[in-house]
């Protein structure tokens, strides 16, 4: 199999020459003695959707958690629009424009749907336009409007995923981090979530997507990185990777081309 230049992680977005909105360079993260991420660099340009693929334990969620400020990097740099954010507390990072829709949804079960959405906007600097944003989310997911006063814990898994997405959008993020939005959902609901993500992409929302479902992720994304045991093992445009499924599989499993 011929080696492609996309094997090496690039520092700037592949296609556009624009300055990246979110840039991670040479990031190292460890939990105690265990190193989860060994020097990963990646970038996401404004309006771009980038997928982060890889097997369990490859470091995908750690990457998102570190960008959000929940985990601290041992070394390296993360910047948003040129400003270093990797030493800031999570609340500041949300305020600067990174919203994280976490794995397992993590909606506040004892709070109502409306209260969950309200808290999504709690870190926002400007409070105006909240009502319109809420309307937009209810238009996107009409079921949430119906269940507005219900506590989030009574929602189905799919509805909770919609709420988690809506809550993240209430922050008016510059970059949306999505951790396994399809996890544990029925196929029909997965389709619905990804249709919504495609709509958001069309509206110009920048996303960094962690997803186990490779086909779904590559269909949505512009570019993708494959992580393996904390390192980038393959990177390229989604179209390229889709065309060369074997190579993606090999990158998952660890064969080096």
């Amino acid at each position: 199999m011929p080696s492609r230049p996309t094997n090496t992680p690039e520092r700037s977005p592949a296609q556009s020459g624009a300055k990246p909105l979110l840039e991670v360079s040479d990031l190292r993260v460890s939990y105690g003695a265990v190193t989860a991420i060994h020097g990963v660099s990646l970038s996401v340009a404004a309006g771009e959707v980038v997928a982060l693929l890889g097997a369990n334990g490859a470091g995908k969620s750690t990457m998102l958690r570190t960008i959000s400020g929940l985990s601290r990097p041992r070394s390296g740099r993360i910047s948003l629009g040129g400003e270093a954010i990797h030493r800031l507390p999570p609340a500041r990072i949300v305020r600067l424009g990174i919203a994280h829709c976490p794995e397992g949804r993590r909606v506040f079960g004892s709070l109502s749907v409306a209260e969950n959405l309200r808290l999504g906007a709690a870190a926002r600097a400007e409070r105006s336009g909240m009502a319109e944003d809420r309307e937009r989310i209810y238009a996107m997911f009409p079921i949430l409007r119906e269940r507005m006063t219900q506590s989030a814990g009574t929602l189905s898994g799919g509805e909770q995923q919609m709420l988690a997405l809506g809550r993240a959008l209430m922050a008016r993020p510059k970059v949306l981090l999505l951790d396994e939005p399809s996890l544990g959902l029925a196929p029909l609901l997965v389709q619905q979530i990804f249709r919504t993500l495609a709509e958001l992409k069309a509206q110009g929302v920048t996303m960094l997507l962690v997803e186990q479902n490779i086909n779904l992720a590559l269909a949505l994304a512009d570019r993708a990185y494959v992580l393996r045991t904390g390192e980038v093992s393959l990177a390229g445009s989604a179209a390229e990777l889709q065309a060369d499924y074997e190579k993606v599989a090999a990158a998952y499993l660890g064969a080096r081309p």
């Binding site: 959000s68 400020g69 929940l70 999570p90 609340a91 990072i93 949300v94 305020r95 919203a99 994280h100 976490p102 397992g104 993590r106 909606v107 506040f108 079960g109 004892s110 709070l111 209260e115 309200r118 808290l119 999504g120 709690a122 870190a123 926002r124 814990g153 929602l155 189905s156 898994g157 909770q160 809550r167 993240a168 922050a171 544990g184 959902l185």
Partner: protein, 300 residues
């Protein structure tokens, strides 16, 4: 004696006692909800509130303002303790937090002894508070303090209810109590939430302390100990970490204690506390999540 009147009187007593337990238990539960810490120093905020009121009264200002000041001092003390003692060990194993709160208890109580000696001090009340209303030839008695306890507790609870359902800070506190990680992710300023939680919890304990002192007529360095233990029982009955549970538990415990004293044979009364703590053990064994709190369920 008229049984109906007797029952009415005991209901009033139960509500007054339950209010005190609820005031203390709610703060305990709030702090456990957010920090997963059993704050043994919580009862000492009652002492701080009581002594604060006493000292302010000695300066000559009226009882009402002295009590407000005492409660504020209690709230401030809670915030300082959080900042100085608990924040540095936040995130450590739970046993570390627990031991830290024991240390804070010892420090505060010994400060109490150092400043106010170990003997109890009279808690002087203004004349208007020492009145009692009597009905049906004295078969029903409302003391002013009972009425004040119930009214002030109701006002405090209504304020808290408004706060946790209508304000971003209050909603954020409930969110952080449920899932600290997700609270960080939506950008809540968790440090600020914790400070506010300590201020409210300690203010409630301070109010409880003032009312407790008014009921018993004395303040002492160890006055928070018994109510703290009872508040633990109340919070666990209701569901530790749940505000509504602590409220329910407080009133149930108040009702139970009055029931034991008022309706069971007199020989049983001395075992009141034993019965209460047996109930605690029963709850821990058979319903450790309490009456209101459900175990966390995972939904797919």
């Amino acid at each position: 004696m008229n049984l109906g009147l007797y029952i009415t009187q005991q209901v009033i007593n139960a509500i007054a006692l339950g209010s005190l337990y609820a005031l203390v238990a709610i703060g305990l539960s709030m702090i456990f909800g957010i920090l997963r810490m059993a704050n043994f120093a919580h009862g000492d905020m009652m002492m701080v509130g009581g002594f604060g009121t006493l000292v302010l009264q000695a300066t000559g200002i009226g009882f009402g303002w002295a009590a407000v000041g005492g409660i504020a001092i209690g709230a401030l003390c809670g915030v300082i303790v959080e900042r100085v003692a608990y924040r540095p060990v936040r995130g450590s194993p739970e046993v570390t937090l627990l031991l830290t709160s024991f240390a804070v208890t010892y420090i505060l109580e010994n400060l109490g002894i150092l400043i106010f000696t170990s003997s109890a001090h009279n808690f002087p009340l203004p004349d208007w508070m020492d009145n009692a209303f009597q009905f049906s030839d004295g078969q029903i008695t409302f003391t002013q303090i009972n009425i004040l306890t119930v009214v002030l507790t109701a006002v405090a609870l209504a304020g808290l209810g408004w706060f946790v359902t209508r304000t971003d800070l209050g909603l954020g506190m409930r969110a952080a109590a449920e899932d600290m990680g997700a609270a960080h992710l939506v950008g809540l300023d968790v440090n600020r939430l914790i400070i506010v939680a300590f201020a409210i919890a300690s203010g409630f304990a301070g109010l409880g302390g003032v009312l407790w002192a008014a009921q018993s007529g004395v303040v002492s360095y160890s006055m928070g100990f018994t109510p703290l233990l009872k508040a633990f029982v109340a919070a666990i009955i209701g569901g530790f970490g749940s505000i509504a549970g602590a409220l329910l538990g407080g009133y149930l415990l108040g009702a139970l204690e009055i029931l034991i004293v008022a309706f069971l044979p007199a020989e049983v009364s001395p075992y009141r506390d034993a019965i209460v703590f047996a109930l605690l053990i029963a709850f821990l064994l058979f319903r450790p999540n309490g009456l209101l709190k459900r175990a966390q369920e995972v939904k797919l």
